[in-house]
């Protein structure tokens, strides 16, 4: 009897557990991408919504195909501004990810080598800033980096800077790098830490006993073994940084070109929805390979 009631109960409930989140994601995550693709192929119009629809119903499929045009994409390809901001975004994302690795790795290593009773507290200390608002953390840097800000005051007080000098960092790419490294550091440190923490310490002891210098042991043993963490951390940082908007907008200057900012301006400033969609589609195309690698890696873990 129990068997029968089990199966009769499990049928619909079992099915629902998959179906509800699946349908939700199809509707609100996958479908929007098809729409964005569609609108990127339509014409700009001064109306609300500000584009002429190319696709009203399935009955007009032939009509639909004939109306599609790549005008927005040609426009993007012709205008150097867009190509430059794509390249500049990728360059900024590469440099930031490298800086994050250089700064995050020693931190993660120090955490993994800390006495084990301290480690949970250290992990929490890394996670805690992540819980506070992104916007607030970027905002905090404005007050520090402004020419008349706290960094200038500090450097003048300790005598490294004359009273007339000011820190000229705010509204430059350097400020953007500081903001990005600051905001994304927990995302880099945590995957590195979890890879390093699992490492078998006896390997290093063996290397040391056999006369391997510490630096060589690091490059021969520690670093290769932490590769999964390096890849995970780099992808988790690189992909969103390439489309970052808030940090370049608040800390960057007029010549800080990043594609997230360009998209935002096209959309909210120029109200050119089709062009903004085309920018988004191209950004997605650039990021699709790193996103797939990230998914493969996550699925292996999961």
């Amino acid at each position: 009897m129990a068997e029968i009631s089990t199966t009769s109960h499990s049928g619909p409930a079992r099915w629902l557990v998959v179906a509800v989140p699946y349908l939700w994601l199809l509707l609100f995550f996958a479908a929007p991408f098809l729409i964005i693709l569609k609108i990127s192929l339509s014409d700009t119009a001064i109306a609300m919504p500000p584009y002429t629809p190319v696709f009203d119903s399935f009955g007009t499929l032939g009509n639909f195909v004939s109306q599609l045009d790549l005008e927005n994409y040609f426009f993007l390809a012709e205008d150097a501004l867009y190509i430059q901001s794509y390249l500049s975004s990728l360059r900024m994302a590469f440099i930031s990810t490298f800086l994050l690795l250089v700064i995050g790795y020693p931190m993660a290593l120090a955490m993994a080598r800390a006495p084990s009773r301290w480690r949970p507290t250290l992990v929490m200390l890394v996670i805690l800033p992540f819980w506070t608002s992104f916007l607030i953390r970027v905002y905090a840097w404005i007050g520090i980096l402004k020419p008349e800000g706290l960094l200038t005051v500090f450097l003048q007080t300790i005598g490294l800077m004359g009273p007339d000098e000011q820190v000229q960092v705010y509204r430059t790419d350097i400020a953007v790098f500081i903001g990005i490294v600051y905001s994304y550091l927990p995302f880099m440190v945590l995957p590195l830490y979890s890879a390093l923490e699992k490492m078998d310490g006896t390997l290093l002891e063996a290397a040391n006993d056999l006369g391997c210098p510490p630096l060589k042991a690091f490059w021969k043993i520690t670093f290769p073994l932490s590769m999964p963490g390096v890849i995970a951390g780099s992808l988790i940082c690189f992909i969103p940084i390439a489309g970052e908007f808030v940090i370049p907008d608040l800390l960057g200057g007029p010549d800080t070109l990043m594609i997230g900012k360009t998209l935002w301006t096209e959309f909210f400033g120029n109200r050119d929805w089709p062009l903004a969609s085309a920018v988004a589609v191209l950004l997605l195309l650039v990021l699709v390979v790193p996103i797939m690698i990230f998914q493969k890696q996550q699925q292996k873990v999961g």
Partner: protein
């Protein structure tokens, strides 16, 4: 063993970098002077100013409602998704499903925001409170799914199997056995979802409409005009709320972890 030495200097510098900007922000919210760089004595005037700023308070109320609602729905959906990922070895389109769970974690927010907005426009929905809530539910459920999934992967299924063997229906088994055991992860997922929703500027900017200005949108528009102590005050309150929440949650989860270990110990002794 020289290479495996613990290095407190690196950690001190790293944590100083992470915390000093936040500490400065909090300290200057109590500054009597309007200038951000001059300390004019202790004062609570910016908290009073913030409190009487109706626009800011309205935005805070909208944000709180969006965050509670989207975190709750997102936690239910995310937990279901985690179960589907871990417990269902195979179902049609599982690769697509797990892809849709992992992709929003790294997807640039401008893309998610713009694509959702275009969906809402295409189906002709008035944008406002509900569209922001739907948008936040969509991306927060993926974070919840990851958090709950990692708990389910280390989950001892023998208790569940015992309940099923004794004739407990699967749905009841889930609510009586599985859910209480994964509850710390589910609650952690809810908290993460709540703070992510509280924090989001970009997706909310795209999907909101008249009358549903959230706090980050409000803060952003004021920050663009310059640094003001009033913003420091509201940021300090947000930081305090989140810190209290995280510390409480970690104490509670440590307690329940200890209790679980003790219970399992007792159960093991009893069975011997």
């Amino acid at each position: 063993m020289k290479s495996a030495r613990f290095d407190p200097v690196v950690l001190t510098l790293g944590f100083a970098f992470l915390y000093i900007p936040i500490i400065i922000l909090v300290v200057y919210s109590f500054n009597a002077s309007r200038l951000v760089t001059v300390w004019g004595g202790f004062s609570l005037q910016w908290y009073a100013a913030m409190w009487s700023n109706q626009g800011l308070m309205d935005a805070a109320w909208v944000t709180a409602r969006v965050a509670v609602l989207s975190a709750t729905i997102g936690t239910v959906f995310g937990t279901m998704a985690a179960l589907a990922l871990v417990r269902y070895s195979r179902f049609p389109g599982k690769t697509l499903f797990s892809g849709m769970i992992y992709a929003p974690l790294v997807m640039p927010e401008v893309i998610t925001g713009l694509s959702l907005l275009l969906l809402f426009v295409a189906v002709n929905v008035d944008r406002g409170f509900w569209t922001v809530t739907i948008a936040h539910t969509t991306f927060t459920m993926c974070y919840v799914a990851i958090v709950v999934q990692s708990r389910l992967l280390t989950f001892d299924r023998s208790l569940e199997e015992a309940a099923l063997d004794l004739g407990c229906p699967p749905v009841k088994t889930f609510f009586k056995i599985t859910l209480p055991l994964i509850l710390p992860a589910v609650l952690a997922g809810w908290m993460l979802a709540f703070t992510l929703s509280l924090d989001d500027l970009v997706i909310a900017s795209f999907t909101t409409g008249p009358g549903a200005t959230t706090l980050p949108i409000k803060i952003y528009s004021q920050v663009r005009l310059g640094v003001t102590p009033e913003i420091n005050a509201i940021c300090t309150i947000l930081i305090a709320l989140v810190t209290i929440g995280v510390v409480f949650a970690s104490i509670a989860s440590k307690r329940s972890e200890l209790r679980r270990i003790r219970d399992e110990h007792v159960a093991l002794r009893g069975s011997l």
